[in-house]
Symmetry: C3
Subunit: 162 residues, 3 copies
Amino acid sequence: MSGKIEQRIAELGLELPAALQIPPGVDVPLVMLKISGRRVIVSGHGPQETDGSIAQPLGQVGTELTLEQGIEAARKTALTMVGTLQRELGDLDRIQSWVKVLGMVNSAPGFNQQTPVINGFSNQIIEIFGRECGMAARSAIGVAQLPFSIPVEVEAELELVE
Amino acid sequence: MSGKIEQRIAELGLELPAALQIPPGVDVPLVMLKISGRRVIVSGHGPQETDGSIAQPLGQVGTELTLEQGIEAARKTALTMVGTLQRELGDLDRIQSWVKVLGMVNSAPGFNQQTPVINGFSNQIIEIFGRECGMAARSAIGVAQLPFSIPVEVEAELELVE
Amino acid sequence: MSGKIEQRIAELGLELPAALQIPPGVDVPLVMLKISGRRVIVSGHGPQETDGSIAQPLGQVGTELTLEQGIEAARKTALTMVGTLQRELGDLDRIQSWVKVLGMVNSAPGFNQQTPVINGFSNQIIEIFGRECGMAARSAIGVAQLPFSIPVEVEAELELVE
């Protein structure tokens, strides 16, 4: 990794997770991202450990996870997604702008702190890419459940440099 | 405000809310909308009062809010979003088409009237922009919770005139 | 129907549902899809019978529906959406790529099998359109409720051939 963003990631002491270790017996008839012209449309990602396994703890934020654990799961989700982008685009300097983020929090009944949880994602992206590139249009919502009981799932759209 | 759409809003006796008064201590690392070519990608919006404060009542539609209160919250969400568009685009006549709407209703268990609730949003947009411009592709869904316990959140994509 | 994809659908013995029979008294201020250049943005669709009526059974996957019934509902949702595309585009061979799929499962508390449920949609699309065209960026999530208590709702974006 030698680009400016790759250097920034190294300076911050961050490590991008390996590709998702798909649990045995799970069929995934999808692509992690699709490129259409300058648009990059990214599948829903969750928190992963650096070896690509699904990160612990699993469950709903507000009961099984504390707010702080939810924020950390969202931060890890950002690194997971940047890892995918690095593998698929080859060079993260090709990214001009984070256009849109949809942040979904696996929410216990009554838990309404989706904004600070998804800020864990957004702030990690901004730390790496800077505010101009990293500040996206965004929605944060509380969902009833997520695959494998992951606490956070984020999908996004980005724009490449011309 | 002097364009055709601004005149229409005045004729209808509608008032666009001021920019969101962000509750104290809340970090919002995002933009309200992002423009890419002719595309306008709009963050999730909720119902606001005309002074920009988050509108009451808060909570889940089907228990804390009646269906009618949910519809009214969705209608107010439309005005909130048009207010953002007015501030960011300068002139609402730049809007050619509402392309996509994702309407999310903070839904009590068993509440399945997401269609009429989100119609409150769509019908207000159509009243202002007309059917050809205002009829978008749309999904309406029931979510487990929303930030600040707002009853409705809507995100959208629009297209600008050439 | 005479195009390659239409022939493929016939060979597979599949039948595309008629347009949605909107339940009495329901207002639908939206379009089933919107075209912008080569982009096709498709509204949320649910499972339909071939006559266009909303398919049974209704309810949450994990309690009112089994996993297998959820998968079948997602498969029917794919056929519903292809039916819409056939009517609106005239010729399904105009589709170059399925770009993005958002699959929403009406999920009972604790039900976390959204991946296999939405695979019912994706695998049906891939069976018809092939892997290169049909493998999309995707998110699968569990929502609290859906309109009319349908078990699955899917929205999508596609790209047309030049």
